[in-house]
Amino acid sequence: MKLKRINTSEIIWLIGIIIMILIILFPIFVMFKYSISDRASVVTGGKPIPLWPYHPTIEQFKTLVTTDRFISAALCSIEVALTSVIISLIIGTPAAYALVRYRFPGIMVLATLLISVRLFPDIVSVVPVVEIFIKLRLINTKIGVALAHSLLSIPYVIFIAMGVFETIPKDLDEQAQIMGASKLYSFVRVILPVALPGLAAAAIYVFLLSWDEFIFAYFILAFGNLSTLPVMLQKILSWTPQHNLLAAISVMLSIPVIIFTFIVQKYMRAGATAGAVK
């Protein structure tokens, strides 16, 4: 067997890639390490903090999952994120379809208006939104937070979905209509199923956005007893928390993101439209 000769530039590339991976993974490693550290590995009294805890422990996680406050915040976060996904897809997907299929003049102006909420820093746009939400009695409610998060994510859903619909040949709509399907029927039965993989990407995006969104959630929930995880984290940070407990919360925050991405990724397989055309 002959080994392929590796030249210098390839070695440099390889080293570069390894360094980049280390840079990306290092904070994650630190977070993970802290989350399983015993108290002695954190509070070392002047000695350098060890690279690996003296006595790895899952004590912090046990504490968290038995703390009512944490559990209710986690459930609140999940509920808000899923609701945001549903609301923004229900609104954003048909809008994107209409924008793609019935092209009309001024479409770019409309598209720009759609993202205008996001043209301002969140801290600016949060004020009018909260004003309105107070009037609508949406303050201190999960649905309020979900609506705010939908407001933030709908423009992105529309843009992602427009990209998806553009790849679906118009022939499919037209074929369905000639066969007797109404526009709604062909959208629901033909176009949506074909678009599903692409829309999954939009769903992931909304979930992630909602899951770690802080400013809107904070303004809407600050004075009540509901908390999403980021809001709860802020509330914990206002007293002096243990590093290792904080790290454990961070790990817990990351887990649903990973799980959700895995579930939805199943639908993101390539070639879903293969065989439609030619």
Binding site: I178, M179, V190, G271, A274, G275, A276, V277, K278
Partner: protein, 368 residues
Amino acid sequence: MATVKFEQVFKRFGRNLVIKNLNLIIKDGEFVTLVGPSGCGKTTTLRMVAGLEDITSGKLYIDDIIANDVPPQKRGLAMVFQSYALFPHMTVAENIGFGLKIKKYRKDEIIKKIKWAIELLNLDGLEERLPRELSGGQRQRVALARALVLEPKVLLLDEPLSNLDAKLRLKMRAELKRIHRKLRSTVIYVTHDQVEAMSLSDKVAIMNEGSIFQVGRPTDVYNLPENLFVAGFIGSPTMNFFDAKIIKKDEKLFIEFAGAKLLIPKRYQKKCANYLNKDVIFGIRPENIYEKRFSKIKSVKENTMDVIVDVVEPLGDRDMVEVTKEGIEFSCLLEPEAKVKPDELIKVVFDLSKSHIFDKDTKKNIIY
């Protein structure tokens, strides 16, 4: 089953006039082909019948009812797109049953009809496959099955064979013919391939730049093209054209080109009288020129000319021979037994009873 009629139909995309005064009648059970070069408006015409494009002006009748404003869902037609447009997330059976489900057929009826279509198009065993698991030819048949199962009044086919390889195309051509003979449905077929049009249709409509140039049975448009475009478009190998002049000698009209004077047949003499001493275009198909010894008609001075052989391309049953006369090139289909060789001087006989003379300005066939 139904009739379709276009009456002075125009179609405009923005400022672009794409269909110009289209008039066409398609009878019940007829297989009519729209044929013409790419971009001439065939697909647009088909889409107007389907209701996918609105008609700028004029009338479209389906079954003697004006259909201009009838939505595609209500026209009761079926269409096979060039792309097939199979629903990628549905199995073959689901694709075929899609329209039946919308039309609210009973479940057992749907199953029966799907089975009928599967059998008709030899798709047995593929019912549960997804479109991406099928070959090109199979996809094409599924698209056809999906259309036929609805028993459409009119079946619209847009270049259905153009994505298949040559061998499969021939097979599907025969298949289409068989199905049409069996079902006798009204078919409007679109293709840019004139051979396909000729071999499939009861009637061909030759289109160019948004207008129909001639409508007729394949043999008629072949033997009697109405104009220069049709003459050049229909037939393979293509017709030879010469810049020519009509002259008079001994009270008879001759056609003069490439330094030769050939006698115009008696029955065309009168029609050509108006063109005396005028420039015209003379056309004759390669298969209507013979090598003298193998000529099907009597060789006389007034139909024979000396030419020099340029290139010989054996086609098997015939030789495609390029010849020149006074710098003018044309082609003939000769018997291989004539054994002509490049640079050889040979005598060829023109069968003028099968030739055509076109007005240089209007491009109309004078002897039509």
